[in-house]
């Protein structure tokens, strides 16, 4: 099995705060992976480093066999925050922006998903509810044709129906060889779509296949609480 993302001996600090010290972890290709961990453990930082939005202080990050950098940005889709849109933008502007910016963007698919997600083309993004903004960000992220998708807390503000719709869109939209890494606190909502979980703790990284955890008679949440339990 090939690895989609390889992190090797990465250190990351913000001013004096150490987020990662000698972090090494790999994410296999073709899997849907849940990225879990307590608040402020570094989940978003890790996703941003994989997306080459921020750089590690030292260490190596590879997307497949290519070192993370400008070139790998064409192979990784990072879900942006609703605040990142310009104030003047309507839904159709954001979709057009993505189409113009990313050659791999599937415009027809995005238009279809806007309809499926009940998003009007002419609606101003700043006027949308949190859940609607999240839906827009998810669909824009998923409509790029890339190898690795990174979603940071994608369903936090969604009601149960749209949680389900978003999960379906995620599954329908990506081929089997695509890798999706999703950070979340809502383990119960998402654990049935994860093939594997990667759990960041202060004592290191734990990785396990979800069905292996369940075969051991434990729920994924119980496993999470057990491996993070030493710190709380």
């Amino acid at each position: 099995m090939t690895d989609a993302v390889v992190i090797r001996s990465v250190n990351k600090t913000f001013k004096r705060k150490v987020v990662f010290h000698d972090l090494s972890v790999t994410f296999p290709a073709g899997r849907v992976i849940g990225l879990l961990g307590e608040n402020a453990i570094g989940k978003t930082t890790l996703l941003k480093m994989i997306a080459d939005i921020i750089k590690p202080n030292c260490g190596d990050i590879f997307i497949g066999s290519e070192r993370a950098g400008l070139a790998t940005r064409a192979r990784v889709s990072f879900m942006i925050n609703p605040e990142n849109f310009y104030k003047f933008m309507r839904v159709k502007d954001a979709v057009a922006y993505y189409r113009d910016f990313y050659p791999d963007f599937d415009y027809a698919r995005a238009m279809q998903l806007c309809e499926d997600f009940d998003l009007g083309q002419k609606w101003k993004i700043t006027w949308l509810s949190k859940g609607q903004q999240e839906r827009l960000c998810i669909l824009l992220c998923l409509c790029r044709r890339v190898e690795v998708y990174l979603l940071d807390e994608p369903v936090a503000g969604l009601d149960p129906r749209f949680k389900h719709e978003s999960i379906k869109a995620m599954l329908a939209n990506t081929d089997d060889n695509k890798t999706i890494i999703i950070s979340t606190h809502l383990l119960r909502d998402l654990d049935s779509v994860f093939d594997e979980v990667t759990i960041l703790t202060r004592d290191g990284v734990y990785q396990a296949a979800c069905d292996d955890i369940r075969a051991g008679g434990e729920s994924v949440e119980q496993f999470y609480l057990r491996v993070t339990g030493g710190n709380t």
Binding site: A172, S192, D211, G217
Partner: protein, 122 residues
């Protein structure tokens, strides 16, 4: 479908498909949905679905023809019924044994139960 927490999801999906076969919703020789259709239906990844179908194949419940699809094996429903009755009986005997009943007592209680509520399907 709502999954229980501590049983592998691919096993739960395989059981669900078996239930459909036993209930006659899927008959002998029927073509199953595609991997992708099932994956959306159960809202799980293709990998999980592949393992579920793999399990059904290993248990000789379905036949997968490359490039064509998966089909319910002839006699699968009958065989599954026998198997699930076996499981029920084994489970029942094991539990009754744990409660301290010996074979003769178990037989006696079953006979009593059948006499009382009848064995025929209602």
């Amino acid at each position: 479908m709502i999954f229980v927490e501590n049983l592998p999801i691919y096993v739960q999906i395989a059981n669900d498909i078996k239930d459909q076969i036993v209930a006659g919703k899927l008959a002998d020789g029927d073509k199953l949905l595609s991997l992708r259709e099932y994956s959306l239906l159960y809202a799980v990844t293709a990998l999980t679905m592949q393992r579920a179908l793999g399990l059904l194949e290993a248990e000789a419940v379905i036949d997968t023809k490359k490039g064509v699809g998966s089909f319910v094996k002839a006699g699968a429903a009958a065989q599954l019924k026998v198997r699930s009755v076996d499981e029920l009986v084994n489970d029942f005997i094991a539990r009754a044994g744990k409660m301290g009943l010996n074979s003769a007592q178990i037989m006696h209680r079953v006979a009593q139960g059948v006499a009382k509520i009848g064995g025929e399907a209602k």
